[in-house]
């Protein structure tokens, strides 16, 4: 049996005798096959965005990125070492024609520094999408929200496609969306902490309010955290340390790819409502006495 699912654009496929539940599962699978998220006018099939820091070498970076299936990778902007110039460049390992390169403003503590970094990143010639982060505190690396808003306003005006790293604050996310950011990237927990999703309720509110993609950025520790972010309805997850810092980064990259897919599919499938008491899975009739 194959019918058009009313109003969804998706095909229901399955056997004539499939139960409604099986048909619904079929819809979710069909949705997964055609699933993508749109960022700044471009479609991405992978909902996992990965950082490129903290790897042993460029070869390991590339292997991890490949294993993750990511189509977008973040990079940092730093001074060229004049006295010890290495012939190799990160972009020799991550082809900008194959990956969307997303430069960050990591290490910037003022709006001015962040804007300056973005202007340099754009001149490097790989596009005008930037991950804006303006840090407010060196111990937690929490964002400086007013400075982030200030920098975002300037960058949007200058034509940048801005993806701001921001506290899991629904109002801050709304403001950033209103001023023209192409996504909002609330943190799950402090950068590199691996504490997982600390405030799923705020993330749900952010997702509900969002007209732009919501990308959970920072704090993911392991695969279940990534799945949880996707189950909450977030559009994508961005991570670095959770993969690069794992004992086997390549295996963790694959685990994260699977977790993001699993979480997304679970979100599309529609989970059961949690309830306090049991409901039997087996028929209550025909029990031998």
């Amino acid at each position: 049996m194959s019918v058009e699912a009313k109003g969804t654009g998706y095909r229901l496929t399955g056997n004539l005798h499939d139960s409604p539940a099986e048909l619904r599962a079929g819809v979710a699978v069909a949705k997964m096959d055609e699933d993508y998220f749109e960022l700044a006018g471009r479609r991405y099939r992978s909902r996992l965005i990965v950082g490129t820091g903290k790897y042993r070498d460029f070869a390991q970076t590339r292997a991890a990125v490949e294993a993750s299936g990511a189509e977008i990778v973040t990079v940092a902007v730093r001074r060229v070492n004049i006295t010890d110039r290495s012939r190799e460049n990160l972009l020799d390992y991550l082809d900008p024609s194959k990956y969307t390169i997303l430069p960050n403003t990591a290490g910037c503590y003022t709006a001015e520094e962040a804007v300056r970094t973005c202007r340099l990143a754009r001149e490097a010639g790989i596009g005008d999408m930037v991950k804006l982060e303006v840090i407010g505190d060196s111990k937690t690396l929490f964002p400086d929200v007013p400075a982030t808003l200030e920098a975002a306003r300037i960058l949007v005006k200058e034509g940048f496609k801005v993806l701001p790293y921001i506290t899991d604050d629904p109002v801050a996310c709304l403001r950033l969306q209103e001023m023209g950011c192409v996504a909002v990237m609330p943190l799950a927990a402090p950068i590199g902490s691996g504490l997982g999703i600390r405030n799923p309720y705020n993330l749900r509110i952010i997702v509900e309010n969002a007209k732009v993609p919501v990308i959970v950025d920072a704090g993911v520790g392991t695969a279940s955290d990534a799945a949880e972010a996707m189950e909450l309805g977030c559009d994508a997850v961005l991570m670095n340390t959770a993969i690069a810092g794992a004992k086997d980064p390549i295996a963790m990259a694959r685990a994260m790819k699977l977790a993001v897919e699993a979480g997304r599919l679970a979100y599309l499938a529609g989970r059961i409502e949690p309830r306090l008491y049991a409901t039997a899975s087996s028929p209550l009739t025909g029990i031998i006495r």
Binding site: R78, R122, A218
Partner: protein
């Protein structure tokens, strides 16, 4: 006339060049690929097309950056 040497600040360090050295020549001397870098002169980004038009003078503050691994 012999070329006079001047000091610029290159990525935060003093760096000796001939006065009037073009930015494009500095980049070539540093063996950097223009496609992989971005340059700032006295806090303003220099478009790649203008590297050969810019002459450096004493005290100029030059920043040359590239992409490295980051999150």
């Amino acid at each position: 006339m012999s070329e006079s040497k001047v000091i610029i600040e290159l990525n935060g360090e003093p760096f000796e060049i001939e006065e009037g050295l073009r930015l494009s020549d500095l980049i070539e001397r540093l063996e950097l690929r223009p496609t992989r870098i971005a340059v700032e002169l006295n806090y303003a980004v220099v478009p790649k097309a203008e590297y050969s038009k810019v002459s450096l003078k004493a005290g100029d503050k030059v920043e040359v950056v590239h992409f490295v691994g980051g999150g």
